[in-house]
């Protein structure tokens, strides 16, 4: 077992000397043939014989108390097996490693809060049965409107405390140029295409949960806690997960309801949330109101930087959107203020959705920088360059690696960014107004503990295993590449086992820390294998060269199979946060460039071109990493132009909780977006040298589009999405 904290910031020797040259290559996903043929099975798809169907019954009011539940009509329905509403473990919401929901409560925290579960022989009977359960409530006036509720500054929610450096107010008062604007973003749903689903059964004493979940190690503990079981009696499986985007980081209430049902009925139970229920039983990203205040001189050099905002949470939730998180290290300025205020609402819980903080925080800041650049008459890239800090301006630490200005330069070159940005509204192509915009991207890098086992079999094939999930992130493939790289194998010679809590505990998929931490653990496990192979060669590990299934040292050469002598070598690796995370400021960076066309008559916005250049440390697979980044950029387009969940402030219900009216980007909404990398291996980030990828693409992407819309039309929209009605009044006369 090689256990190593990330203290030294030195690259593991076996990775530095690796000869196979497969890590980083754009290899096709190893599980690809299963996915394209429908043979990859997700959480609802491999049920044991005799599995019953569960359907969740939700509270009929947004606030108040449940007074009685009448299940007679549901129980009378043919096919209904049970209606369960008396179990004290029924959770009011989602649980995770940081917070458990209230259980067995009659208090209503939000509309649709689970209060009962109906179990039936068929899906149709379960759903119809759920509709027949009469839930009586004593409703209370709910707090559904963020604009009218009190803003609390003194709260303890969230991981990001308020930050105050220097004297922002004095610096702003003294600044020759002051910028001060408000921005707003709406509620966003994670909206993974696979709805939250679980199949639950008892395998002897062990509660087995096949679930659509991003972080199954944490899920195992949460389920055990909620069910009153020791963790050893819970096993979670998630070999394939149909997207997560933060929405599957915790354990949804439907999992616990299905487990209660399986326990009570003594038979397997499965549950999948109907699409519209996902709005209520899955957390969403809070709406935000943000303020950006900047004081600078006439050359744009910032002396005061303030990014504050307000986000919502319900009374049962402990998360708070860290709005200014991405702004902390982004631009210089001696005087700094960052803070997220809280509004309590009686809505479903808010939680982490792809790039919590940055996804919407950089929208505000990157629009603000664009506005400030125009006001100063400075190119927006040049303004950013003038405020590029040489160390983290908030905590004073050196950056581990930071290639942000290189991203600007390379992006500008590839995009053809002009020396002088055309005046807003000045470029016309027929009935289309054409504009360009750019924005910086930044996502903080997290290091998280992760373990993995690697087994080099007697036949020379390797198996790497851990409880990571591959939620579309490419984990199967990058772990095969990592092990192949350091053991000198063809990646096809490496089997990858994931998604089972019986395997070594990983970080799970979330916060963009999965790939780097899991790959690091795999590298460390391979170190032990390399030492053993070297011993068998009578060589020093430092002189052992592994490539193409052969080992050589000191002029001698052998195949791995010969060295293994019929016996497998097994090893464990564990990577954990260390001194580097404390000593350095770590983030992934990038720059987005967009060209949009706005129809001068209708206000329709078309994104014509979009590209980005990104610094993510080591790129583990150029194809899957680029795909993920582009996916994030599409989310940015989607946030800029379409996505907005609308709350009915009278009832606390969502007006548009499905894909018919909550508009996510479709194929025709985006052009052939390009992603390029500036690769500098970041040895301080983790042993693999890889910084986070999955959330970076969304950071700043929406701002680039909104800035381009401004350049096309001269209309500055600070409240996304930019729908037709926000533009029509400002368009030129027809």
């Amino acid at each position: 077992m090689t256990e190593q904290a990330i203290d030294s910031g030195e690259r593991p020797a076996i990775l530095a000397r690796a000869q196979q040259k497969v890590l980083g290559a754009p290899l096709p996903r190893v599980e690809g043939p299963l996915k394209v043929t429908g043979a990859a099975t997700y959480a609802f798809e491999q049920a044991p014989a005799g599995t019953a169907y569960a359907a969740v019954v939700g509270a009929p009011a947004g606030a108040g108390r449940v007074t009685a539940i009448d299940d007679a009509a549901a129980l009378a329905l043919p096919g209904v097996v049970a209606v369960i509403h008396d179990d004290p473990r029924i959770p009011a919401g989602e649980g995770n490693s940081r917070a458990m929901p209230a259980q067995g409560t009659d208090r209503i925290f939000h509309h649709g809060q689970p209060v009962a579960v109906v179990v039936a022989e068929t899906q149709a009977a379960a759903r119809e049965g759920a509709s027949l359960v009469r839930v009586h409530a004593d409703p209370a006036p709910g707090r559904f409107d963020m604009e009218t509720q009190p803003v609390r500054r003194d709260h303890k929610l969230g991981f990001l405390p308020a930050i105050e450096i220097g004297d922002v107010d004095a610096a702003i008062a003294a600044a020759p140029v002051v910028f001060d604007e408000h921005y707003a973003t709406p509620v966003h749903f994670p909206a993974a295409l696979e709805p939250h689903a679980s199949t639950v059964w008892f395998d002897g004493e062990v509660l087995t949960v096949r679930s659509s979940n991003q972080v199954i190690g944490g899920a195992r503990e949460t389920i055990a806690k909620a069910m009153g079981l020791p963790a050893e009696r819970v096993r979670v499986l998630a070999p394939y997960v149909g997207g997560g985007f933060g929405g599957k980081t915790g354990v949804g209430p439907e999992v616990i309801l299905a487990a209660i049902a399986a326990e009570r009925l003594g038979r397997p139970v499965k549950v999948a949330l109907p699409r519209r229920d996902t709005a209520y039983l899955v957390h969403h990203r809070s709406a935000t109101v943000q303020q950006v205040r900047i004081g600078c001189d006439h050359d744009g050099v910032i002396t005061a930087f303030e990014h504050t905002g307000t986000a919502a949470q319900n009374d049962d939730g402990g998360f708070l959107e860290p709005i200014p998180f991405g702004s902390l290290p982004l631009y210089g300025g001696a005087n700094r203020r960052f803070r997220t205020d809280l509004v309590r609402l009686d809505l479903p819980a808010t939680g982490a959705v792809r790039a919590p903080g940055e996804a919407i925080g950089t929208f505000a800041v990157e629009c603000a920088m664009d506005e400030l650049a125009e006001r100063l008459g400075i190119d927006p890239i040049e303004l950013r360059r003038r405020n590029e800090p040489d160390r983290d301006p908030t905590n004073g630490k050196p950056f581990s690696t930071r290639r942000l200005t290189d991203c600007y330069d390379e992006g500008a070159r590839r995009f053809g960014w002009p020396d002088r940005v055309p005046a807003p509204g000045s470029v016309r192509d027929g009935e289309w107004l054409v504009g360009i915009g750019m924005a910086a991207a930044l996502r903080g890098n997290f290091t998280v503990e992760a373990s993995a086992s690697v087994r080099l079999g007697a036949d020379g094939r390797a198996t790497v295993a851990c409880d990571m999930t591959d939620i579309g992130t490419g984990t199967y493939t990058i772990l095969a590449q990592t092990v192949a790289e350091v053991l000198g194998l063809d990646p096809a010679q490496v089997d990858v086992r994931l998604g089972d809590t019986d395997l070594p505990r990983s970080a799970g998929s979330g916060g963009s820390f999965g790939a780097g931490s899991a790959a690091s653990a795999a590298v460390l496990a391979c170190e032990d294998i390399v030492v053993e192979l070297a011993r068998r060669m009578n060589a020093s590990p430092d002189e052992l060269v592994l490539a193409d299934g052969r080992a050589s040292a000191d002029g001698r050469d052998a195949t791995l199979v010969e060295l293994l002598r019929g016996e497998a070598i097994e090893a464990m690796g564990k990577s954990s946060p260390g001194a580097q995370a404390k000593k350095t400021s770590q983030a992934s960076h990038g720059a987005h460039f967009a060209e949009v066309a706005v129809n001068a008559v209708t206000g329709e916005v078309r994104v014509r071109r979009m590209l980005g250049v990104f610094d993510v440390g080591r790129v583990l697979n150029r194809a899957t990493a680029a795909n993920q980044i582009v996916g994030g950029m599409v989310w940015g387009v989607s946030y800029a132009l379409g996505e907005a969940a609308v709350v009915d402030t009278r009832s606390g219900r969502f007006v548009n909780p499905d894909f018919g009216e909550y508009h996510v980007a479709v194929n025709a909404d985006v052009p052939q977006i390009e992603c390029h990398f500036i690769e500098e291996i970041d040895d301080a980030a983790n042993q693999a040298g890889a910084k986070g990828v999955g959330e970076l693409g969304i950071s700043g992407a929406g701002a680039a589009v909104v800035n381009a819309i401004y350049n096309a039309t001269g209309i500055r929209v600070r409240d996304v999405p930019v729908t037709l009605d926000t533009l029509l009044d400002g368009l030129p006369p027809v």
Binding site: P28, K35, V36, G38, A39, Y240, R606
Partner: protein
């Protein structure tokens, strides 16, 4: 009820309210077709019925007893991929894979529509349809990919269809 799916005949005794999608997934063990919304809004359930792509969640199984139904399982296997399946692997036209069977079935149906000369909203000439990126994007917009692998999906389809490479506004 009796059905012909992927050239094989199946018998099932199902509730008359059962959708074609639930028939396949819950009764016949054909779980390749996915349920993303059950509302006809996402396209993950796309199947080919008599050669045409449909949202199988929006149609009742009982209506299709005389039809020729093809699901993703009928197009190819991991060992013998359909050209579009191979192209999706080659171009990384997916991430999580949940929308992928629907995307591929939809693409098969879509290319047949183009071959028949059916124009779309993106067609510049209603009489002579040429398949460029904009046409592919437009015609594939009934299939949501929340991971948003859209550019790679377009590349994969264009690769198989031999479409023109121009990027339209």
């Amino acid at each position: 009820m009796r059905f012909t799916i992927n050239g094989q005949s199946h018998e099932a005794e199902v509730d008359i309210r059962t959708s074609l999608l639930d028939l396949a997934r819950e009764h016949l063990g054909l779980t390749g077709s996915k349920k993303g919304c059950d509302h006809g809004q996402c396209g993950a359930c796309t199947m080919l019925v008599n050669g045409r792509r449909i949202n199988s969640c929006l149609t009742l199984a009982v209506m299709h007893q005389d039809d020729d139904i093809v699901t993703i399982e009928g197009l190819g296997t991991p060992e013998a991929l359909h050209p579009l399946q191979a192209a999706f692997v080659r171009h990384d036209g997916y991430q999580c894979g949940y929308c992928t069977p629907g995307q591929i079935c939809s693409a098969v149906g879509m290319l047949d529509e183009v071959a028949k000369g059916w124009p779309s909203h993106a067609s510049a000439d209603l009489e002579a349809v040429t398949l460029d990126n904009a046409e592919i994007s437009e015609r594939m917009s009934g299939n949501i990919c929340r991971c948003a692998a859209y550019p790679n999906i377009v590349d994969a389809i264009r690769d198989v269809a031999g479409a023109t490479d121009e990027v339209a506004a």
